[in-house]
Symmetry: C2
Subunit: 403 residues, 2 copies
């Protein structure tokens, strides 16, 4: 069993890096705070005898040797970056459950048949740079390395430059770790486990995600002198699409639609907006339904462009197809062995494990979070809930190493 208090203290210590007044965390990918959180992770792993490697997109791998170091390692990991209004658990809980597993093995001098590997993936959140799960997606070969390093934030700063600046642009080849399985513990980020009073969610599926950059190009003109019928108001067209995003979601079972990001130009009260850039995020566990939602969005954008006499440019720059986790039964076996209540569940958010499933047998362990709230400073999981997840991770990894 892992040490509940130590896991909790470690979570709280990490939460101070970028900690907010309201008890949340603001630690965007590639910032100085990201560096601090990575540095302390590296220090903790080294203290337990791990060897550290950094790959070309800044993912960190800490390896604890096993009895036979030619065997593929059993891996775990998640991310340390957060949303601008994130909590202390999203991602961080997965990384620090790994650290807790490592410490438990280390202090008990447990020798595992295979090496064990603890990882931190670059920019999982997709908040400062897009898409999400950028580090794991690039590692497994879904994204092109150069393209991703060249991605810029809203201020035009390159991811590659930020990684170099904070000392985490490594030279290890992508996809080159000798790993035989991967498990990620994560808070659910939704309300289901709490509602159903279950300690552990056995994650069977990661739902599909489609991300868009949308740009409406109208014509800036005077708010006091331009008759309504002569306007090409980019804001008005954008608002219509925002409203339709909800309608699309509501038309489909389990459909979700969100506009989280918007930039208005010239953003002056008495100038009709000439240009509005915004994001769109559509999700569904079924790929066919998600495709229909996608087509509905494209068709609506075209209709709006025509009706408003302006341009609507849509760039559907990221499609994450739903993924099935093929090592879920390992998670279930460990959960039952430990006697925790559990249920099958699907992941609403994307996770690094979703991409790792491309390469190796992969499973995810969900734990409840208060009121299902995440991407919010109020995000919370209790010490016992966290401990349950870390215990399941420990035993899942031990079992996988034995085989």
């Amino acid at each position: 069993r892992i040490n509940e208090q130590r896991l909790w203290d470690t979570l709280m210590e990490m939460g101070e890096i970028g900690g907010t007044e309201k008890g949340g965390c603001n630690r965007l990918a590639g910032t100085d705070l990201d560096k601090q959180s990575r540095d302390i992770f590296v220090a903790w792993c080294k203290a337990c005898g791990c060897e550290i490697s950094i790959d070309k997109i800044g993912n960190i791998f800490a390896r604890r040797p096993g009895l036979n170091n030619d065997l593929p390692a059993v891996g775990t990991g998640s991310h340390l970056d957060t949303q601008p209004t994130g909590g202390k658990f999203d991602g961080v809980f997965g990384v620090l459950s790994g650290v807790e597993v490592l410490r438990t093995l280390h202090e008990n001098n447990i020798e595992t048949p295979t090496p064990m590997e603890f990882s931190v993936w670059t920019n999982e959140e997709g908040s400062r740079f897009q898409p999400a799960m950028q580090g794991s997606g690039t590692y497994v070969g879904r994204f092109d390395l150069e393209t991703e390093l060249n991605k810029t934030d809203v201020n035009g700063i390159r991811l590659g430059d930020e990684l170099a600046r904070i000392g985490y642009l490594g030279d290890m080849e992508l996809g080159s770790r000798n790993m035989g399985a991967f498990f990620e513990a994560h808070i659910e980020q939704g309300p289901i486990l709490e509602d159903e009073k279950k300690a552990i969610g056995i994650v069977r599926l990661g739902q599909g995600i489609r991300w868009y950059n949308i740009e409406v190009v109208g014509r800036p003109s005077h708010s006091g002198t331009t008759p309504m019928h002569l306007r090409k108001d980019a804001m008005l067209a954008a608002a219509a699409i925002v409203t339709e995003m909800k309608a699309i979601a509501d038309r489909h079972e389990n459909g979700l639609g969100t506009v989280g990001f918007m930039q208005v130009w010239p953003n002056s009260r008495n100038t009709i907006p000439g240009n509005v850039k915004f994001s769109a995020d559509l999700r569904n566990p079924r790929p066919d339904v998600l495709l229909t939602m996608h087509e509905e969005l494209l068709a609506f954008a075209e209709k709006i462009a025509e009706e408003h006499g302006l341009d609507v440019n849509i760039d559907p720059f990221w499609y994450f197809a739903p993924v099935e986790f093929n090592a879920s039964d390992d998670v279930k076996a460990a959960t039952e062995k430990l006697g925790y209540s559990h249920m099958d569940i699907y992941a609403g958010a994307g996770h690094d494990a979703c991409y790792m499933a491309d390469l190796v047998p992969t499973g995810m362990i969900f734990t409840p979070c208060l009121n299902g709230i995440s991407h919010n400073e109020a995000e919370y999981s209790s010490p016992e809930e966290c401990a349950a997840g870390a215990n399941v991770l420990l035993h899942t990894m031990l079992e996988a190493s034995e085989r």
Copy 2:
């Protein structure tokens, strides 16, 4: 008659300060560029023998002595600040028509019965600081000086500090100029004069304006895990209000409704917006209709707050009541004397003359602009159109000085 070529050259010279690639101008109030444009105006007026005064909100007055300097001056003026995507004419044309009048009087050694006064008003645009017509409104006593100097831009920078920094925070008392009448030349900024093929618009009325700061306070949460019916999505509520602004405008004759400014927080693609701040601008020439529009907006906001289960805070921080110009007949007389085609018109935009009408008999002279486009880098008036306006200004001022 004024010198058409000189007026044009002066407009083009001023347009280089903050000039944009697309031929427009970006010269926000209180910036270094604002300072440059003020400095050159002051230099031009001094070269024609004017004495310069700066008041406590940064308005500039350049006085040319008359035969009897105890008589109240005949004034003209407008603004040199522009929108972020402004043109070379909005405001600037009025100021430089004044400079052209001054130069015409000076080079012909014309002695006027009363002094003549040429002014530049602080922050007429209301883009960087709110409200619009801030300098003239404060001068005539509509706004409180300290409140206005404490107004901040989106980065929290105070107007008062910016005026001090650029050397235009004067010590002259507000409202203290000895002025007997005020005339402002301005491009129409709308399509009517061009459509009707008239050289001059005799402005009879400035329409009413209501400005609002609206804040929607929802709850940030995860775009992938929060079911649609459990969301408090500030963006969705804001979009509904944006859409309703057009509906309100369309329900009323001559109604206008615009959302030009929006800020989203935390502005991350996979976080449902927790907070959206935006502007609203409602206009109508009839105060009763504008009041109805106002009430419709408030009622709709309340309804949205209830339907979406979140807070909608509306601050109706500026009401500009429609104003009638009582010296319009002086403008008409000068226009007819000079033989220009003309028509009566109302102003869709607010102007410094609208506030000066509180203190003295006031008139406005409109000139056509290409396709009615303003607050756009493509804003354009021809040299002849500008010259006609400046000639009318010259003769209106001369007539007023004679009386």
